[in-house]
């Protein structure tokens, strides 16, 4: 019977069905895992105080439980641990994030279940998010405002003082990046101006005086701002909080380093939800800290969006024109065939090859020539002759060109020829038919192509590593300094951020949740774009199907 069953081919059908299940499970599982790991990172997890007792003596460990796993006792023995008090074959161990990086050797540590004598979640445990050295877990002892201990409701006062310090720091930062950054930028422009006069042999005494006067004015301004900056910084440094950490020692934390403080064991669900949303907001809106392993990813989001938009502006006209040519004008001949093969090949060439081409052709050849012609005063430091956002956009524009072409062409082929014939029969020229009838009807398809191109470009990293992406860009490609849009600047990118933080950072363990969060952000954007594109395309198909009948 089984033989007959095999002969019927039915088991093979099941096998092919199994392949579909595997594919589905992996896609959905992958997306779900990224989503879960990315999103759960921001939830305020409870801080546990462990009373430990092992061969080495008693001590206390305070931290968040990060991970737990079963390990065979034999392996622990091999690793040189004392396992005399463990009877079972396997033992559970916990990965605890203890923070307090400057006082303990490692801010992550494995502890054995068997060594834990007691685990409590005291409500008074506070978590401090700091600008340096990561989180701090401790009990608040005293709040010191302006050198004096606060006696009346110290915790409420602590919240206020943290907010005050954060506000002052923000103000100082915006002064530094805004006004003072502007002065530095202007000074640099003056230097270039002087150099360009010198190169043209036009550096007259009059001009020298002019430049000196401008410099003097800027310097005066600078002094004013600098004084303000120091004032703000001094004010921010006023308060401290004294805490007791897991070693039982008192530590004074200056509040200007504290970004936020919360008591996770004392929060109800809605407070946690509120905190969660605030943390997500910070992740999306803040600058990164500590070599990108903490803080937000705002510059990376901004860089990605800006580059992709620039690319879209470049690729759309070319892609659409090429698609119209292929569908409406091209004769059935060898050239058309070659162009079609070129389109397929452009889609299939590895992205790194585009990166190599972009680096050689755009950056060194085109950018180098632009520098020679227009920016001789900046030499030897290159302006456009170095990787930058414009070259990235151009490189990705070639890379995504086939996506736009294929999608637009599909849209064009769905428009019934009766519509074209009608227009032509009424006396319109071919160009008019295209412009007034065909292109408007195909616009959703063009949109689809554009969205798909943007989704593809947002996820591409390999070519960008050669033509413009950096791990840390000091300035955004758009700012308040003339000419406001700086196409020559390098930029940060979400995809590269993932690569860099996940693989190049010194403390991968601490950075990993952040990488998952970044990955989720990127995946969410790309999947959303793709689903939108597929939706538009399906809608379009339906629309023209009804037109055909």
């Amino acid at each position: 019977m089984v033989r007959q069953w095999f002969k019927s081919g039915s088991p093979w059908i099941w096998m092919t069905g199994g392949a579909v299940s595997i594919s589905l499970i992996s896609v959905i599982g992958l997306l779900a895992m990224i989503a879960w790991r990315g999103l759960s990172f921001f939830w305020p997890s409870e801080v546990v105080q462990f009373e430990m007792e092992s061969a080495k003596g008693k001590h206390t460990v305070i931290g968040e439980i990060y991970d737990r796993e079963l390990v065979p006792t034999s392996r622990l023995k091999l690793a040189g641990l004392d396992t005399s008090n463990i009877q079972s074959e396997n033992v559970e161990r916990l990965l605890v994030k203890t923070g307090n990086r400057e006082y303990v050797d490692l801010d992550f540590r494995w502890i054995l279940e068997t060594d834990i004598k007691a685990a409590t979640k005291p409500e008074a445990l506070a978590v401090f998010e700091r600008t340096k050295n990561g989180n701090f877990y401790a009990y608040v002892e005293r709040v010191i405002e302006n050198g004096e201990s606060v006696t009346d409701q110290p915790i409420e006062r602590l919240y206020e003082l943290v907010d005050r310090a954060v506000d002052l720091n923000d103000e100082a930062l915006s002064l530094q990046n805004g006004e003072i950054g502007h002065i530095n930028y202007e000074l640099e422009r003056l230097r270039l101006k002087e150099r360009s006069y010198a190169l043209d042999n036009a550096l007259t005494d009059e001009r020298v005086a002019e430049l000196a006067a401008a410099r003097e004015a800027l310097r005066k301004n600078y002094e004013v701002y600098e004084a303000q900056l120091f004032e703000l910084r001094k004010a921010a440094k006023r308060d401290q909080v004294v805490v007791r950490d897991m070693r039982g020692e008192e530590v004074t934390l200056p509040l200007y380093q504290v970004l936020d403080v919360w008591f996770p064991n004392d929060m109800n669900f809605f407070q946690k939800l509120g905190h969660y949303l605030v943390q997500i907001g910070k992740f999306v809106g803040d600058d990164p800290r500590e070599a990108n392993t903490e803080g937000g990813v705002f510059p990376a989001i901004f860089g990605t969006v800006f580059m992709v938009m620039l690319m879209a502006v470049i690729v759309t006209p070319f892609g659409v024109v090429a698609a119209i040519y292929l569908h409406e004008y091209a004769a059935k001949n060898a050239v058309t065939k070659m162009i079609r093969i070129a389109v397929i090949n452009l889609a299939g060439v590895p992205s790194i090859v585009y990166g190599v081409f972009g680096l050689g052709f755009f950056v060194y050849m085109l950018g180098g020539s632009i520098d020679e012609l227009f920016y001789p005063e900046a030499s030897p430091s290159p302006v456009f002759g170095t990787p930058g956002v414009i070259w990235s956009a151009l490189t990705l524009a070639i890379l995504t060109l086939p996506v736009v072409i294929v999608s637009t062409e599909e849209g064009l082929s769905r428009i019934p020829s009766a519509v074209r014939h009608g227009s032509l029969a009424l006396g319109a020229t071919k160009a008019e038919t295209l412009w007034r009838i065909v292109v408007p009807m195909a616009s959703p398809a063009i949109m689809t192509g554009l969205i798909l191109a943007v989704a593809r470009a947002a996820g591409e990293v390999a070519p960008l590593m050669l033509v413009g992406v950096v791990k840390m860009a000091p300035t955004l490609p758009i700012d308040g300094n003339f000419p406001f849009v700086h196409l020559d600047r390098k930029f940060m990118h979400l995809g590269f951020h993932i690569y860099d933080v996940g693989f190049q950072s010194p403390n991968v363990e601490a950075a990993r949740p952040l990488v998952y969060a970044t990955a989720f952000l990127l995946v969410a954007v790309i999947v959303a774009l793709n689903i939108t594109a597929i939706g538009i395309r399906n809608h379009l198909r339906e629309k023209f199907r009804s037109l055909e009948h």
Binding site: S8, I34, A342, N345, V353, G360, G495
Partner: protein, 744 residues
């Protein structure tokens, strides 16, 4: 519009026609742009790569007549090749302009301070740039022709001078004050070593150390001297720039001494180094001082370096070059690269590169003998003393290290026990021998692609067949886009998951992974068999074509079972530790980021590509074909295998080709999921380095225009060609198929 005053007019406004023409022209130009873009990439890559295959050119740039050329014993040229200098046998240094408008101008003449009569002359390794006179009182004076660069009126001005690296202090080589007949020397900041043959035939090794008195600041010279034992006459002396090896040539014998430490000098080897029926005429060290080059009078030049043998590290003959026959050759090496030059007493010049075994150029540059020859610091020119003239010749030799054999064949690199394929492009030191074999990284590319395809092709094709042929259309409308979404997933995320999640997971649960591979097909079969045993009513209530949904819990269950059994399996089959078992029992090394991880992760990236195209191919097989087969009594499966797949096979082939193209060029996954070590090993538990990852890693650091830069472009070009061929073949096949279907 409604006015009837207008008569219908059938003439068209000319401007509309012109616009129409313009639009046609513009759009056609835009369409051709795509082709231009592809060609631009192709030709630009070729344009950057091309110089590495250019042959060497040698051109005479300047010529200066000299009054008495025979008095000169040394020659050299400064870095910009503007000024050449000649050192005469009585200690005079002459500087001549050799480029620009004032070619031939005698710029300066400097008499070096010498405390005695000159009896011999020697020069250091080229990159040290020193010359020395041996005197009749057993002393040696080191001199360095040098140039002060100033910029009066924004113009570069070179002022030649002569400097003394030892502050005009002469070194007392022979304490018996015998004249120095021959010598060689090495000079570093810490130590100066001289090997000299005195007039009374002693070979002396002396080392001088500078010591500064801590209190007075006075400089004191400490010296130590040892006599080397050499039988027979001494023809040539040579010392490596770090004074670790000394070579003494006595006719065809070469005595090699370890002179690293003056107190422990020992003779390590005596080489009879001449070729058969030939005698040695010259010896020299290659840049980096690892290789000894020997010239024979039959025209052969041989390269020797130390190789680990059963009797220790011994100088071994590596390869030979065909120099100029029937003449006496001298050898000259470059500053940093492994190029060397042969000059003869008949005016012939030969240019060679050792690593690539290349004879780059041979020809005659003068009528008479070439008396002196020196290469410029940047190796782009040489000064020659011949025919009573000082000549400057330009040597265009940018990329001698790249030849077909250096890229694709085994090369015996300095210090290696045997010829090997090695990719090692950069190192901290200037005189590093670059190893540009593309074989290991091409191998890595193929290996990565192969493992990925091994994983992806069965799953993708099976899934495509099921989705296109068996699945209900409602389900298909959901499943197809879901799998295709995976194609849009950025590879950086797949790479990150592979490197930081999958790799540790596999390392931890290797038995589980193996178990899944075995249990999955088995489990699906069991589930299918169990399904036939279920009551008929229930089976019929489930719509046809939903096997995939029914199997999801089965697959999940098998996965869960495998992982929870992992430790038990490890205990049963692998003595409790897989990694140890692999290393000890099977002799396999296990990298955490290995080919298995890459295969799975990259397989994931390739599945949607293959799935999508193959699904289209199977789905668009005309329905009347399968209906006909079914009507004739074939089962679903028979129809699928004998009719549908056969018809769709070109499409499936094209899908696999597209997938392969993608796997070959994938960068981020490989970059993040392997250790990126360029090794050649098929083992699934070891990593690799691929062409694409290699470009991503090394491109940002390579110097523009260098051989390394161009080789990386070559790698990109190779990738481009690879994928071009795959994609073009796939597209061609697909077009054929489409035509076939439309005729059916």
């Amino acid at each position: 519009m409604t006015s009837s005053a207008h008569k219908p007019s059938f003439t068209t406004d000319r401007s509309r026609l012109i616009k129409d023409r313009l639009a046609q022209f513009g759009i056609s130009a835009g369409g051709v742009m795509v082709l231009v873009a592809l060609l631009l990439i192709f030709f630009y890559l070729l344009y950057v790569v091309q110089p590495i295959f250019e042959s060497v050119r040698v051109e005479k740039r300047a010529e200066v007549e000299l009054t008495d050329a025979t008095k000169y014993v040394g020659i050299g040229v400064e870095e910009q090749t503007e000024v050449a200098y000649l050192l005469s046998k009585d200690g005079v240094v002459d500087f001549y302009q050799v480029s620009g408008n004032t070619v031939g101008q005698h710029l300066e003449q400097v008499q070096t301070t010498l405390d005695g009569q000159v009896t011999s002359f020697a020069q250091s390794a080229p990159h040290v740039g020193l010359y020395a006179y041996g005197l009749d009182n057993g002393q040696v004076q080191l001199v360095k022709p040098s140039f002060l660069v100033t910029f009066p009126n924004n113009k570069r001005l070179l002022t030649p001078t002569v400097r003394y690296p030892l502050d005009a202090q002469q070194l007392v080589v022979d304490e018996q004050s015998k004249a120095i007949a021959k010598f060689t020397f090495a000079h570093t900041d810490e130590k100066t070593s001289v090997v000299a043959l005195t007039a009374d035939k002693r070979v002396l090794f002396s080392a001088f150390f500078k010591e500064e008195n801590m209190f007075t600041g006075e400089v004191e010279w400490l010296s130590e001297r040892v006599e080397l034992e050499v039988d027979g006459r001494v023809d040539e002396l040579l010392i490596s720039p770090d004074s670790s090896r000394t070579f003494v040539r006595s006719a065809n014998q070469i005595y090699i001494f370890d002179t690293r430490d003056v107190t422990e000098i020992e003779q390590i080897q005596v080489l009879a180094a001449n070729e058969e029926n030939a005698n040695l005429t010259a010896m020299n060290l290659l840049a980096g001082a690892n290789s000894l080059m020997l010239a024979n009078d039959n025209g052969e030049v041989s390269q020797w370096f130390e190789v680990n043998t059963s009797e220790g590290r011994l100088f071994t003959k590596i390869r030979a070059f065909e120099g100029t026959k029937k003449s006496t050759m001298s050898l000259h090496s470059e500053y940093y690269r492994r190029s060397f030059f042969t000059t003869t007493n008949q005016g012939d010049l030969g240019v060679f590169y050792t690593t690539s075994e290349a004879t780059l150029w041979k020809g005659k540059i003068s009528e008479g003998a070439i008396a002196k020859f020196a290469i410029s610091p940047r190796a782009n020119a040489a000064v020659v003393l011949a025919d009573d003239k000082l000549m400057l010749i330009d040597i265009h030799n940018e990329h001698p290290e790249v030849t077909w054999s250096a890229l694709w064949q085994e090369v015996w690199y300095e210090g290696y026990p045997e010829p090997d394929y090695v990719w090692q492009s950069t190192s901290a030191s200037d005189d590093f021998e670059s190893k540009f074999s593309l074989v290991p990284i091409s191998f890595g590319t193929i290996k990565a692609a192969m493992y990925a395809m091994l994983f992806a092709v069965p799953i993708a094709l099976a899934a495509a067949i099921y989705t296109a042929y068996f699945m209900s259309s409602e389900l298909r409308r959901v499943v197809k886009p879901t799998v295709e979404i995976m194609e849009a997933l950025p590879t950086v995320i797949l790479g990150f998951l592979a490197g930081l999640w999958l790799a540790p997971l596999i390392e931890e649960h290797l038995p589980a992974i193996i178990a899944i591979l075995l249990l999955l097909p088995l489990g699906i079969l069991v589930a299918a068999l169990a399904w036939t045993k279920l009551p008929e009513n229930f089976r019929h209530s489930v719509p046809e074509g939903s096997h995939a949904i029914l199997l999801i819990p089965v697959v999940l269950f098998i996965g869960w079972i495998s992982f929870s059994m992992s430790e038990v399996l490890e205990l049963w089959f692998f003595d409790g530790n897989v990694r140890k078992y692999l290393t000890n029992e099977l002799g396999l090394t296990f990298d955490q980021r290995n080919s298995l991880v890459v295969g799975i992760a990259m397989g994931f990236a390739v599945i949607p590509t293959i799935f999508s195209i193959a699904e289209d191919a199977v789905f668009s097989v005309p329905k009347h074909l399968s209906n006909g087969s079914l009507a004739l009594g074939a089962t679903q499966w028979q129809t699928l295998v004998r009719v549908v797949l056969l018809t769709a096979s070109p499409g499936i082939f094209s899908a696999v080709m597209m997938g392969l193209g993608r796997a070959v060029g994938e960068t981020m996954i490989v970059l993040m999921a392997t250790g990126n070590t360029p090794i050649m090993d098929w083992s699934i538990f070891q990593g690799m380095r691929t062409l694409a990852a290699n470009i991503a890693v090394e491109m940002p650091e390579s110097e523009v225009g260098s051989s390394h830069y161009r080789i990386l472009f070559l790698a990109a070009f190779v990738l481009f060609l690879f994928t071009f061929i795959f994609n073009t073949v796939a597209e061609f096949v697909r077009q054929q198929l489409r035509e076939k279907y439309s005729s059916m």
